[in-house]
């Protein structure tokens, strides 16, 4: 996954976090290391440079303001940043009144369709992504993390702040909802 390649842990990360907790001016190494992976993560969800910049600025501002509250629970620091980023993206969509077009790769759609056993025909793909857009932000977010961000259940759990087992249960419930919606559309 892209995230594990570019978002790998910094050497002495725990020490840097402790330094940033005592003095937020020491947040720079964490910012410089995680800026790119967070930018790409957000960009994939909004597909607009300016919106992405705005959201990423908010993510790091929240991180620097709340770093004192950060506790190491065995998850990497990046998962905490991804969680803030996910919440900010969801907030952006909840507030936004205009429709934003999000581009997804055909291969990812095919993987999703195989998971809900809907074949991979082009016309069916259109119905599935339309139904995906009709789901609530929270439900579609789970599907995005798994199929478009290509996260493992462990990584999903880290980002959502839940166990990997719970992430798996929530994802399958989300897929059931999607499947029902697709069936209602007459496929």
């Amino acid at each position: 996954m892209d995230r594990s390649k570019s978002g790998r842990r910094l050497p002495n990360e725990q020490k840097l976090i402790e330094l940033a907790k005592t003095n937020p001016a020491r947040f720079a190494p964490l910012y410089n290391h995680y800026y790119k992976p967070i930018f790409i993560f957000v960009f994939k969800k909004v597909r607009n440079e300016f919106t992405c910049d705005d959201i990423v600025s908010k993510v790091f501002l929240k991180a620097i303001l709340n770093i004192k509250k950060y506790e190491d629970r065995g998850f990497p620091f990046s998962s905490w940043l991804y969680r803030i980023a996910s919440n900010e993206v969801n907030l952006f969509y909840r507030k936004s009144k205009k429709v934003t077009e999000v581009e997804i790769m055909e291969t990812d759609v095919i993987t999703l369709m195989k998971e809900i056993k809907e074949g991979d025909e082009v016309d069916r793909q259109q119905v599935v992504i339309k139904c995906l857009g009709d789901l609530s932000i929270e439900v579609s977010h789970l599907i995005e993390l798994r199929f478009f961000d290509r996260m493992s259940f462990k990584e999903m759990g880290e980002v959502l702040g839940i166990t990997h087992g719970n992430a798996k249960i929530r994802l399958y419930r989300a897929l059931d909802k999607l499947k029902k919606l697709v069936e209602e559309q007459g496929i």
Binding site: F27, F43, E49, L61, L65, T100, E103, E106, I129
Partner: protein, 84 residues
């Protein structure tokens, strides 16, 4: 509101490193951080300890001032009345 669109080219349109670096600005983040931290600073009177301290100073100032006034308000002894 979100609408999904399928990219059939199988080439992911991701921003280049130069584009990302154009937006990466730690000094901007620090300025925003300082703005938020300063703006959220509690005024002195909203801090319970400082509020009590201010009350104490005002009370002391009042007591000192009233003490000085009571001293000056005492009428000087009239030497004529004294001789009578």
């Amino acid at each position: 509101m979100k609408k999904y669109k399928i990219n059939r080219t199988n080439i992911e349109n991701l921003p280049l490193d130069e584009t990302i670096n154009k937006y990466k600005d730690y000094s901007k983040l620090q300025v925003r951080y300082n703005d938020v931290v300063k703006r959220n600073k509690l005024p002195l009177y909203k801090n319970r300890k400082m509020f009590l301290f201010i009350i104490l100073i005002v009370l002391l100032a009042y007591l000192i001032a009233s003490g000085e006034f009571s001293e000056t308000e005492e009428a000087p002894i009239n030497p004529i009345e004294q001789s009578e």
